[in-house]
Symmetry: C2
Subunit: 258 residues, 2 copies
């Protein structure tokens, strides 16, 4: 299994604090030492960092803990390999371009038999069931919609359908983004917290670190963080239910089902 | 205009030395301060680093000068914007998946009217003529070959044709890779050097730095570096001619035309 981290914010926000908590689980407080990756969206642009090394030992991860990249949407993943070797090509998040936007996908779970399902437009580079599932999802979207639908509810509804189908094939917790929305699907384990004024202090579970958000935020900031397991010990995180699908936009819940 | 850097090697090799030379030109010894990027291939996997900040001031570039990522193929680019704003989405190298491999593309030049040419399978995320040209090239390849042709000469010949067509539309120096080959097309300016035993010392033009390759190499290592302008002052670099197309594999020249 793996662990996921996502962020949606209405102002460009760094994720140093949450990322510091997550990467401890990549070999120190958790067993997810088979690589890690992170995608930062800045407008339509997307920066990706991937490393097949354990996140606690990674020079790049060390830099990202201190270097505040300001972003509206972030997706990160630390890996405990079960399908697919420990190799750069198998580290999440995976990225593809569709309709002139970068789509990124991070996945926690196992999808039995998915690699037997045929692919069309998008093909995996690595050997994980997760990347195969992502390519299936984007291929289906492209087949259904030649261009991004103007009515975004149609797009969201189709993504919900496709992620629900995936969820029936095994364990499948997903974070997905197209640079506009952060889509989350919970199969077994995913939690979120939305922070807004009045901001307070938060303390990490996995490292001896506290942040006072009052020093880093403005009164109108709204920031939602999603993670496989809560990252802080003095705040209330909300668990998603099995089968729950959420769409986050600028820190706020834009759509959810059921 | 921009500057390009590429590497092809028969053993995983780091590019810290050449990269250190290149990034000085991103705001210090050269005017290419509108962002930079680099792609490292490790097998079929590919790590990308992009930054819209000047490379001489970039924390990520600072790390990459010291942190030896071992790779068989590298493509890097420092940007002096002419078409398209200074933004993350406009930083090279651009990347797309085709036939289950990551293709990356870095470009130096200007292509008049290219953005009016229609696109099919691949679409740009940013606003540069370079990314548009890359999407055209991959769309044409995908239209011509449903799968990667088994006879690689057919693929190479098609790429040569498409890059030559691009070269007729303006200034167009290109580095392109599919994780197997490093393709280079010279429109106006590109040089290369192949290093092999007996290795010697090299001194950068743009920084006070010397490397003794004897300390870092084995007797069978072959490493070719391509750059818009030579990076070292005590070695002989070879200029490509206008219209010259080269394909590098594992440090050796695999194909060239004319």
């Amino acid at each position: 299994m793996c662990e996921l981290l996502g962020m949606s914010a209405n102002v460009p926000t760094d994720i140093c604090f949450s990322f510091t908590g997550l990467i401890q689980r990549g070999g120190k407080t958790g067993p997810h030492k088979d690589g890690w990756g992170i995608a930062f969206y800045e407008g339509k642009g997307c920066r990706l960092f991937h490393d097949p090394n354990p996140s606690v030992d990674s020079k790049v991860a060390e830099l990202l803990q201190k270097y505040p990249i300001k972003s509206n949407i972030v997706i990160s993943h630390i890996r405990k390999a079960n399908r697919g070797k420990v190799e750069l090509k198998n580290t999440h998040p995976f990225a593809r371009e569709l309709w002139g936007s970068y789509w990124t996908f991070a996945h926690n779970g196992q999808l039995k038999g998915i690699k037997k399902e045929p692919l069309k437009e998008f093909r995996p580079v690595g050997t994980t069931d997760s990347e195969h599932a992502f390519c299936r999802l984007l291929s289906e979207l492209k087949r259904k919609f030649k261009d991004r639908p103007k009515d975004e509810r149609r797009l969201i509804s189709e993504i919900e359908k496709l992620l629900s189908i995936l969820g029936k094939k095994g364990v499948s917790n997903v974070l997905l983004s197209d640079s506009k929305y952060l889509y989350a699907f919970c199969s077994t384990k995913l939690a979120y917290i939305t922070r807004h004024a009045p901001f307070g202090k938060a303390r990490l579970i996995d490292a001896d670190m506290t942040v006072d958000f009052r020093k880093h935020t403005g009164p109108k900031d709204i920031v939602t963080v999603l993670a496989t397991q809560p990252l802080t010990k003095n705040e209330t995180w909300h668990d998603l239910k099995a089968g729950e699908f959420q769409v986050w936009k600028e820190g706020r819940l834009f759509y959810q089902k059921p």
